[in-house]
Structure formats: structure tokens, C-alpha cells
């Protein structure tokens, strides 16, 4: 089985689906000959040509707007927004148009566009190359939000996104784009949307994370194990709709929950996860749910290492919930 990083897995999924389904096209800034600034579309231009791997003018609203028009006509566009931080010029096209087309037309116009975008900090990119804007899109009716944390999931989840009929924001954790490596089957496979994965089983505390925070949560669980604390780690994989059942099974088992995300805390996705668990399992909980998150500041440059959640902070939250 080949070993791949997340970039290669995304590339592999795109190539596989473009080969299988001629209606799939890739578009965005620098996605053509250059193969994308992170090289996720590398080689696709040579293989599939300029009509299916489209270097667009530099305008996010145009990338998403034209992708919508393509999808309405029956094409399967996969637009790339070069950094999630650059997505806001397309916010209206995503939130008011893409996500609402099916609903506002009474089901006449499905709009299956899969937007790929690298997100997250830890790459010395400052405010405009580090953001985690997932909460705004999870809050958007009509849109699905998917975040893989490893190459195997990246391929299987992306293929699932490309084969269903709703618009998806597929957020790729760029900090671990290359650092996360693993076995990825060369053949076709899918991972169902809406299903979380228990990536480490444990008894005392449930750690919930997604994307680049999954390895942080796993590292914290390892450190906790060294202190004889047993943590379960859940990788959400799909944020909208998230897998409430897997969270509840674990929370009821452990009675303690720590949620980790690098986005700002207030109205971050952790708030929704915590409330959803409280509403359904408060009687099982031994203490308040802890959140380890970014701060309610803009994403910083020089002090980004202080802004980002890390294993020690997660471990401290684990101890806090145990000692409550």
C-alpha cells in the first residue's frame, strides 16, 4: 500500500474521480500548470487539460460564483480557495447562493460544489494565512463541512464529498499537510460523511478534536497515559452534520469531555458540541466540559505558538476535568 501525505491523498482522490467522472473539473488560483500553491492539484493540468483544470482570474467570488453556475448545469466543480483566510470575498456566494440554491428553488436546483481550502495556523502565516473559519460555515444552513486529519481520511472523505449532491466546504489542515503521513490504498474507497472516528480508546476522559488538533489531542492522550490517565480521542471528521451518537457513547462512558479547536473560543464549534452533549447526557457528566481553543483575538504572527492549543494545555484541561 502506498504511503502518502495529506496533499498526495487529496491529489490522488481528485485524479481518481476526474478519471472516473468526466464531469469533475477543478478551478481556482494557480491550480493549473503550477498545481496549486500547496501542490494539491499537481499533475492534473497535464493529465486532464486546461478545460478541466482551470486557472481562474484572481477573484474568490468569481471562483465560487462560476462554480455554482457549472454545478447548476450538471458539471461537478471542485473550486480551490487558496487559503481559508481568502474565502470572505466569496462569502455571499457561499452562504446566500451556493448553500441556499436547493432550498430557495424548492428543490429545483441542487448545487453540488465541493470547495477545498487549506485552513489553520502553525505555519508562520499570520492573520491572513492561518484562520479557522469553520464555525461560520457550520452555522450556514445548506452547507456541509468536512475536515480530515490524516491522508487516509482525506482521500476517502473527499471521494464521498464528490459523490453526493450537497455543497461541501472541505477544509484541509495545512499545518499537517505534509507532516501527516500514512498508508493510503491506491484503489477507490469512500468514508461516509457524518461519521466520527474513535482514534484512541480510553475510559476516563473524552477528547474531541478535528483536523490539525487531532494529533495534538493524541499527543495529550499519550502524555496523560504516562500519568495513568486513560483518554479516548475522537476525530470528528465531519463537522456538519457532526456525529452526535459517537460523542454521546463516549461522553456517557467517560463522564468527562475536553473539546479542542484552534478557532477562537466565543461561538466556536466547541460551544455547539458542548451544548449538544449537555442537552443529552448531563446526568452522565462528572464535571464541566472543558474547551481548549484559540483566543478571541485575531490570529497573531510572532506569538502564534502561544495562540495555538498544544498538548500541555489539553493535558491541563484533562486534569482540570478530573479534579473538578
Amino acid at each position: 500500500m502506498p504511503t502518502m501525505n495529506i496533499i498526495q491523498a487529496v491529489n490522488d482522490a481528485l485524479r481518481l474521480e476526474m478519471t472516473r467522472e468526466p464531469k469533475v473539473v477543478v478551478l481556482g488560483e494557480d491550480v493549473g500548470k503550477f498545481g496549486g500553491v500547496f501542490r494539491a492539484t499537481s499533475g492534473l493540468y497535464d493529465e486532464f487539460g486546461p478545460e478541466r483544470v482551470i486557472d481562474t482570474p484572481l477573484a474568490e467570488a468569481g471562483i465560487i460564483g462560476t462554480a455554482i453556475g457549472m454545478a447548476l448545469y450538471g458539471i461537478r466543480p471542485v473550486p480551490e480557495i487558496q487559503f481559508a483566510d481568502f474565502i470572505y470575498p466569496a462569502f455571499d456566494q457561499i452562504v446566500n447562493e451556493l448553500a441556499k440554491f436547493r432550498y430557495r428553488s424548492g428543490g429545483q436546483y441542487p448545487c453540488p460544489v465541493v470547495i477545498r481550502t487549506p485552513y489553520g495556523g502553525g505555519i508562520r502565516g499570520g492573520h491572513y494565512h492561518s484562520q479557522s473559519p469553520e464555525a461560520m460555515f457550520i452555522h450556514t444552513a445548506g452547507l456541509k463541512v468536512v475536515v480530515p486529519s490524516n491522508p487516509y481520511d482525506a482521500k476517502g472523505l473527499l471521494l464521498s464529498c464528490l459523490r453526493q449532491n450537497d455543497p461541501v466546504l472541505f477544509m484541509e489542515p495545512k499545518r499537517i499537510y505534509r507532516a501527516s503521513r500514512g498508508d493510503v490504498p491506491a484503489e477507490d474507497y469512500t468514508i461516509p460523511l457524518g461519521q466520527a472516528k474513535v482514534v484512541r480508546e480510553g475510559e476516563q476522559v473524552t477528547l474531541i478534536a478535528y483536523g490539525a488538533m487531532v494529533p495534538i489531542a493524541e499527543e495529550a492522550a499519550q502524555k496523560a497515559a504516562e500519568q495513568s490517565i486513560s483518554c479516548e480521542v475522537i476525530d470528528l471528521r465531519t463537522l456538519s452534520p457532526f456525529d452526535i451518537d459517537t460523542l454521546l457513547v463516549s461522553a456517557k462512558k467517560t463522564g468527562r469531555v475536553v473539546i479542542v479547536h484552534e478557532a477562537a473560543r466565543t461561538c466556536g464549534f466547541g460551544a455547539e458540541l458542548a451544548t449538544s452533549i449537555y442537552e443529552r447526557a448531563i446526568e452522565y457528566l462528572e464535571g464541566p466540559i472543558q474547551r481548549v481553543t484559540g483566543f478571541d483575538t485575531p490570529f497573531p504572527y510572532s506569538l502564534e505558538h502561544e495562540y495555538m492549543p498544544n498538548a500541555d494545555r489539553v493535558l491541563a484541561a484533562v486534569r482540570a476535568t478530573l479534579e473538578w
Binding site: 473539473v25 478545460e51 478541466r52 482551470i54 481562474t56 482570474p57 477573484a59 467570488a61 468569481g62 465560487i64 460564483g65 462560476t66 462554480a67 455554482i68 453556475g69 457549472m70 454545478a71 447548476l72 448545469y73 450538471g74 458539471i75 466543480p77 470575498p89 455571499d92 456566494q93 446566500n96 447562493e97 440554491f101 436547493r102 432550498y103 430557495r104 428553488s105 424548492g106 428543490g107 429545483q108 436546483y109 441542487p110 444552513a141 445548506g142 456541509k144 453526493q164 449532491n165 450537497d166 457524518g194 456538519s240 452534520p241 452526535i244
Partner: protein
């Protein structure tokens, strides 16, 4: 670079009495089509009049008339059934021309059980996938890059389809206008951009939208032809649209048409132009009325009969009355439909919320319409 031509001079075929201007080329339009166009314009005017009346009576929440702009709607005349239209909200005639029925139209205004969009949007936001007429959005200009995307998809799919989009002159100030025009110019997408320049964006006159001499001149910056036509001259509109559609279909790229017309009444039922506009201004446009000019043209061609017009108007009024009665009785879409079409299949939060709502006491709408 391809040299592009901008025609800033107003193109006209008919004078204000409907006579062909000396030296003007007349587009070839079968007589029966001319009659149907006249009938459709008459339907728009009849419909607008009736709908605004019932809006004033409190039977309809909101309405937008297009009186005086009806000729510009027929930029869709050269389109085929396989072409796509990305409308704005003031092109009623194009919908009826394509086959949207009086019932379709009124049911959408009422958001009732028979509304093909399931009561999802406020009045005037139609959608007809069976006609390739795309769902209307309130934020202006969003449809422009979408039309370009459909045009690009037509090229990718190797069809000879054309996408046509309507927007007002105010919309030319938006980012999406620039983005859409630029993408179309670069990709040579088969798109026709129809700017209905009706002089007013709610209360803001066109002079405050641009410092350019004409809206058509904007096309040159995107490497496409721009054509400025008398938007109240049905023959000039159709001629310019035919050329633009032919160009697009032949693979020669997009065209922008500025159809100069005038919004004779308010932006919508919620508007009051007396607050911001000289009441004499609209009067000067009465003599340029597009329906009257077409009527004049038909008379000169010996095709007009006042009896026919009377009969048609009476027929439309009857059909509207009947459709209104049915629309009134139809009732609202079912409660469960609130949760349909958010996604292809409802997600668990939606299923949970549906169960919750179904278990609650029904809430009575505070609105009569």
C-alpha cells in the same frame, strides 16, 4: 488582444410612433412572433396592474412592476429551449415568453401549496428549472458570475448553449459585475449580459452609479463588445440580442448589451418615488412607451386589431382572476416542507427539529397574505 467594439450611440430601429427609422435594418421576426410578443407585453402590463392593486388591498405582501421596461425582457427572444437565463427581478415578460404560466407566476407570489418553489422566497423570486430559468436572488449581481459559470460549463460540455443574464445599471457597481464580466472575457464564455438601464436603483439615479459615459462602455475593459440600444424599442433589443447570442453560440465570446429604458414607477410596492424624484421626469417617458411603439409598428404593418387587444386583455384578466381564486384557496405548503431541500436528505439536526416542530401547537401567521 482582440479588438473590441463599443457602440456608444443608441441603436434604434423604431421611432416613438413605431415607424421604422430611415436607414435602420429591421430584424427578421415572423409575424406570429410579433403578435405573441405584443400579447406577452400586454400580459405583463395587465398582470402588473392587477398584482399591484391586490398588493394595495392587502392581499399580496410585495410586488415589483416593470411598466415601461417590457421591451427589454425580450432580449431572450433569440434563445433556444436549451439555453439558460439568470434573471434579475424585473423581467416578467421573459418568463411568460419562455412558457411560465399565469398560475406559476401567481402561486409563487402567494407562496402557496402550488408554488413550485414551495413558498421558500418572498414574491417575485421565481424559479423554473423546466425552462432553464434560474432561481432569483435578492442581493443584486450574484447571478452574473453564476451565468458565466454555466456558460463555461456549456463550453466544457461541448454544447452550443448560451447563458443570458439580466441586471440593472445599479448592479454594474457591484464586485460581482466586474468579476463576472472579467471571467467571461477571459474564458470567452458564451454569455450575454443584458443591463437594463432604467435610470434608477431605488432612489439613486444612474449618474451616481458610474462616471463612465455609458454602461455599455464598461465592456471594453473586459475585452468584449458593448452595445447600447433603445431598451424601449423591441426591434432594437431583439436585433442586438440576436447578434450577441449568435456570437456566443459561434464561440466568439460574450457581449454586453445596455438597454436604455426607464423605471416609470417605484422600485417596488414598498417604494415612494415622490420623495426623491421629480414627478415630471417619468411623464417624459410616456411617449416612449414600448408597448405603444410595438402597437404602432403592428399598425403600420397592418397586423394590429383593437379587437384582438381587447379580447386578449379580457382573457388575461379572466385568467388572472381565476388563478388568484385558486391561489387564495390553495393554502400554505405543508409544515414538514420547512425542513425539505436544505440538503438532499435531511440531516439529523433537521430531523430532530422537524419532530420538535410537529409536536408543537400550530402558530398562526400574523400576515393575511
Amino acid at each position: 488582444m482582440v479588438a473590441v467594439h463599443v457602440q456608444d450611440d443608441l441603436r434604434r430601429v423604431l421611432d416613438e410612433d413605431g415607424r421604422v427609422i430611415k436607414g435602420a435594418q429591421v430584424p427578421v421576426i415572423p409575424e406570429e412572433d410579433l403578435m405573441r410578443i405584443f400579447d406577452t407585453m400586454l400580459l405583463v402590463r395587465t398582470m402588473d396592474d392587477r398584482m399591484m392593486k391586490i398588493q394595495r388591498q392587502g392581499r399580496l405582501g410585495f410586488y415589483m412592476k416593470s411598466i415601461g421596461e417590457e421591451a427589454s425582457h425580450f432580449a431572450v427572444y433569440p434563445l433556444r429551449k436549451t439555453d439558460w437565463v439568470f434573471p434579475s427581478y424585473r423581467e416578467q415578460g421573459s418568463w411568460f415568453w419562455a412558457g411560465y404560466t399565469i398560475e406559476n407566476y401567481i402561486d409563487q407570489l402567494f407562496g402557496n401549496l402550488n408554488d413550485t418553489t414551495k413558498g421558500r422566497q418572498m414574491p417575485v423570486h421565481h424559479s423554473a428549472s423546466w425552462l432553464n430559468y434560474v432561481s432569483i436572488s435578492s442581493p443584486v449581481g450574484t447571478q452574473i458570475p453564476q451565468a458565466v459559470g454555466t456558460g463555461m460549463a456549456m463550453s466544457i460540455s461541448k454544447t452550443d448553449g448560451v447563458a443570458l443574464t439580466f441586471f440593472g445599471e445599479g448592479t454594474s457597481s457591484t464586485g460581482e459585475f466586474h468579476v463576472g464580466m472579467n471571467f467571461a472575457g477571459v474564458t470567452k464564455a458564451p454569455v450575454v449580459f443584458v443591463c437594463r438601464n432604467n435610470g434608477w436603483a431605488i432612489s439613486v439615479p444612474m449618474e451616481k452609479q458610474t462616471a463612465a459615459k455609458t454602461f455599455a462602455s464598461k465592456a471594453v475593459g473586459y475585452g468584449m463588445p458593448g452595445v447600447r440600444v433603445d431598451g424601449n424599442d423591441i426591434l432594437a433589443v431583439i436585433q442586438a440580442a440576436q447578434e450577441a447570442v449568435d456570437r456566443a453560440r459561434a464561440g466568439d465570446g460574450p457581449t454586453m448589451i445596455e438597454a436604455l429604458t426607464y423605471r416609470r414607477e417605484g422600485h417596488s410596492s414598498s417604494d415612494d418615488p415622490s420623495v426623491y424624484r421629480d414627478p415630471d421626469e417619468p411623464v417624459s417617458w410616456d411617449k416612449k412607451d414600448p408597448l405603444n411603439r410595438l402597437r404602432g409598428y403592428l399598425k403600420h404593418k397592418g397586423l394590429y386589431s383593437p379587437e384582438h387587444e381587447k379580447e386578449r386583455a379580457a382573457q388575461y384578466n379572466e385568467e388572472i382572476t381565476a388563478a388568484l381564486a385558486r391561489a387564495d384557496e390553495a393554502g400554505l405548503p405543508p409544515l414538514e416542507s420547512l425542513f425539505e431541500d436544505v440538503y438532499e436528505d435531511p440531516t439529523w439536526p433537521l430531523r430532530e427539529q422537524r419532530e420538535y416542530l410537529l409536536a408543537q401547537q400550530r402558530t398562526k401567521s400574523p400576515h393575511k397574505h
